[in-house]
Symmetry: C2
DNA sequence: CGTGGCCTTGAAGAATCTCAAATAATGTGG
DNA sequence: CCACATTATTTGAGATTCTTCAAGGCCACG
């Protein structure tokens, strides 16, 4: 499986997600495994990004609990009490919202170094669910401890504010996408975004393995899974991509980028 | 104009927006008019909401600049340097994003007591534009001063964090709407949301005047203005609404609420 | 080697968009 | 103060995009 090498350090292969996956208790106590930000290979992408040594050491003092999450398990669900922010160490997650009639809307995909759960700050309860798309590992960051730490450091405060604002901006682009793009533009925007994030993590930006199903992509992009599939096929016919199930090779990134209009700046 | 009375304290009538409205300098110095949060009739909806007396007094010490904005003028645009957060005192604003090809996506409408500009924290530059839909008045809150203040008060910090998180949650619902609802559900959700916000401000929840055009509603909801208009007509035929241009009277709020499926909690 | 999940593809249908035209409301310039 | 130009809204008809329904293939797993 040569393709697999593209995303090397991730688990060797994607396990099929069980239909009724066991749920890891809402905010169950993390395992005793502890992690230091200062040693972490993700420190420049993750929470400590932009912090000075002294602040990073203060983060170390919190000794974030580390936890393995298996494919299909949830980290939290809507209404769960908000205690932790979660940083992805490895693997991929989706965030999703559910309507009363069961319709699911995927609101984001999260990879190494990205944070999840910031929507819980508002109400003290999570507003979305976070589900592992493959076996994964996370750091559970106790929010109250983090707040206390922020109280003593304006840099830390700034970093937190930026993280939340970044989330707002991220959602802006998704709204743009959902509100005013057609199927091809949506999928192109999605692939380019993935490509950039993989590149930032040291993976190939033009060849990768999708961790999510067509249905999940469709939900995220506001279209049906058949439309996602057809759009992949269309891109393949236009020689923009090679698609083999979840293996994607981008042949013409520029043309793909032209396929959608980025924001004005 | 009996309907106008429903939204009484607002300016007497909506002025037509000039085609090329003058732009109020990106973050031009506010006028010398100063405002105290502690006296403000919006204090329970706005920034000071949830703060104790001592913190509110500290807010007072910042002496927020107050400014009149006329119909069609912008408070800030994408790429403008981020200096202020703005609180709406009166009037209505829209936030919007623009794609390279000129397509505009409205990402929110803001009324008295609501804050604008939090998306600027991430990059130090605004990511969206804020435009007045009618003559309005705002408080310009210098972000650096606010941060300094937060450094000294954990309550203040918490309030700020909640405000940003609330914005994230708000955008979640919009994504849900854009990603998985049809035209009727979208418009119903929009009207119910407006209705609730007006009610919270002491206005009638079942009769009001829309401050935005069909095109702006359509952009916000991810549909064309003609579809908005047709959906209004459909609701009218179903006896859910009475619509007279921008005057809306909700006849059957429950049925309207059933027309869309709220989030699961 | 059979089963179930995921993906692809086709064909028909539905929702929404586009284009067009009529009407109403409003501000402008005389 | 009136006629006109402009803009906003509504409505219809046809085009388009996307969805729905259905069938078949592939692959991993038991």
């Amino acid at each position: 499986m040569k393709h697999e090498a593209v995303l090397a350090p991730a688990p060797v292969r994607v396990l099929r997600r069980p239909v009724d996956a066991p749920v890891v208790g809402g905010d169950a106590a993390p395992t005793p495994l502890k992690t230091l930000c200062s040693n972490c290979h993700l420190r420049d992408l993750c929470l400590p990004c932009g912090l000075e040594g002294s602040d990073v050491q203060r983060l170390d003092s919190l000794l974030f609990g580390r936890r393995r999450i298996r494919t299909g398990e949830t980290l939290y669900r809507p209404e769960d009490r908000f205690q932790f922010i979660y940083a992805v160490r490895s693997g991929t997650f989706k965030s999703s919202l559910t309507l009363a009639d069961g319709r699911e809307q995927v609101s984001g995909f999260h990879m190494a170094g990205e944070l999840m759960g910031l929507d819980g700050v508002a109400q003290g309860r999570h507003a979305s669910a976070a589900t592992a798309l493959e076996d994964a590992e996370i750091c559970a960051i106790p929010y109250t401890h983090l707040s206390e730490l922020a109280a003593g450091s304006s840099d830390m405060q700034m970093v937190m504010a930026r993280l939340m604002s970044r989330e707002i901006v991220r959602e802006h682009s998704l709204m743009m996408l959902l509100g005013s793009m057609n199927a091809e533009e949506r999928l192109a925007a999605f692939l380019i975004n993935l490509s950039q994030r993989l590149k930032a993590r040291g993976y190939s930006s033009h060849e990768f393995h999708l961790r999510m199903s067509r249905a999940e992509i469709g939900s995220y992009l506001g279209m049906k899974l058949e439309t996602v599939s057809r759009t992949f096929s269309a891109f393949q016919q236009q020689r923009l991509l090679e698609v083999d199930k979840r293996h994607i090779r981008i042949l013409d990134l520029e043309a793909l980028a032209r396929a959608f209009q980025g924001p004005i700046h």
